[in-house]
Assembly symmetry: C3
Homo-oligomer: 190 residues x 3
């Protein structure tokens, strides 16, 4: 029925744990927020499944399986735990791209000892250059008490910095709370 919604070149969807951010971002990308038939779309999944399997991370595996069931056949999935900039540069712009999620990607970078600041810069440049419309999902993790351990504090700081960088670049930023979208930049698609 309703036409697929026009999206800005880059959209950032933020939210806490279990806030409905992936579901909302999927509808945004496939163009079904207002109903209608979904369009073909690409998911860049940053969950490191090889790593999860190695560590028997059942929580993560279960979540990934659940998300996959929810998405239909019009989705193609690329698993890329690190080099999402390269994936974005390869796109020809015929389908919108969902990157889910950046906070996991940040965690992958830190675990591998990458320079997260220059990785953030490369990602920003790839987003600017990409021919595809891109929706990024990221966690908001900075609104609780200061974590006890230095690693968690560093992760929280890097996640905040990354979110700020991408929010500046995005044409639209949405914060999900209890499954409901709040516009924090731009106007919500009706």
């Amino acid at each position: 029925m309703a036409a697929a919604l026009p999206l800005p070149h880059v959209t950032l969807v933020l939210g806490g744990a279990r806030s409905g951010k992936s579901t909302y971002a999927e509808k945004l990308v496939e163009g079904t927020l207002a109903g209608g038939a979904p369009r073909p779309a690409l998911l860049v999944a940053t969950a490191d499944l090889a790593d999860s399997a190695r560590h028997s991370d059942d929580e993560m595996a279960a979540r990934v399986a659940m998300h996959r069931r929810r998405r239909g056949a019009h989705w193609q999935t690329i698993e890329e735990p690190v080099d999402i900039a390269a994936v974005l540069r390869r796109q020809d712009g015929t389908r919108p791209v969902l990157v889910d999620c950046l906070t996991l990607w940040l965690s992958n970078l830190l675990l591998r000892g990458h320079d997260v600041d220059s990785a953030g810069e490369s990602l920003a440049a790839a987003l600017a250059d990409s021919r595809a419309t891109v929706v990024l999902v990221a966690n908001e993790v900075g609104l609780g008490i200061v974590p006890d351990n230095a690693l968690a504090r560093r992760f929280r700081d890097e996640a905040g910095r990354l979110n700020m960088r991408l929010a500046r670049q995005a044409g639209q930023v949405v914060l999900l709370v209890a499954g409901l979208p709040m516009a924090i930049k731009g106007v919500l698609p009706a």
Copy 2:
């Protein structure tokens, strides 16, 4: 002075710790947000006071006593740590009901080994069927760093799922920040 405000059938009031959500929800239910005389109201308190006493949980007992002092004689209180669906079904609709809070109720369910998903479903059905206008208070707990232990992660996930379910059903959802209400669904009562 001002007339009591009309409320939707179900309202969800979300907020962090010490965000003013209980105070706001009480005013919403007794109809005093814009001033005027309070109307009779029922509080369904989910704090498990027997359990708190048994464990000498002074923090919780002190908080409950403070909340009770703040509320006036027009409030009746029912303590029900688990079966709030039954309480909602018993109402004849003559007074609005405040359930404070769902996150504590969720914690009670988990401690007793109940199936939280089916409890959530029963609650949603009881809300739909209830003759009373209901205001639900719940904590937003998903915006901090990922907790270290699996139990806290599970609690956070279940709380997020419950909030999403009830936000979908509610006609109005309000997020309290520093005592100030933000409308995330519907329009704030002036």
Copy 3:
């Protein structure tokens, strides 16, 4: 180019870790949010640098140094970990004042065993009496999972109470998310 923006007598800028609240508040105080030349301003820095040095708190020292580099020569800085009420009372109102941040100040009070409730009252009175326009920065720390230890829970509760008190007094309250301001009281300066 653009004129410095008019500010209410008291503004409260809230946000999580690395949410851009200090940067936003600095621009608000120096009048450069909409561009233009900065006006002279005073920073009341509550970071206890003597204490940080004593404990070799490199994280804090690095952050303070970074913030200082960002601010220009039109800023004067007073370091005051405890008695910010006295600093506010001394102002003659010729320059706006930034207090950054109240959550650190609260932490300083708790570490020294001060009565935080009466300190909050004194601060509120000093704000009401001050001839200066004041912008307060504070952390929102209550939106994560309940902390394991009682001290962290107490800190979280006191921070929430302080934020509520000051939000009531402020003419404008802004919540920063990913560097973007959301108005939760009053209207955002354009």
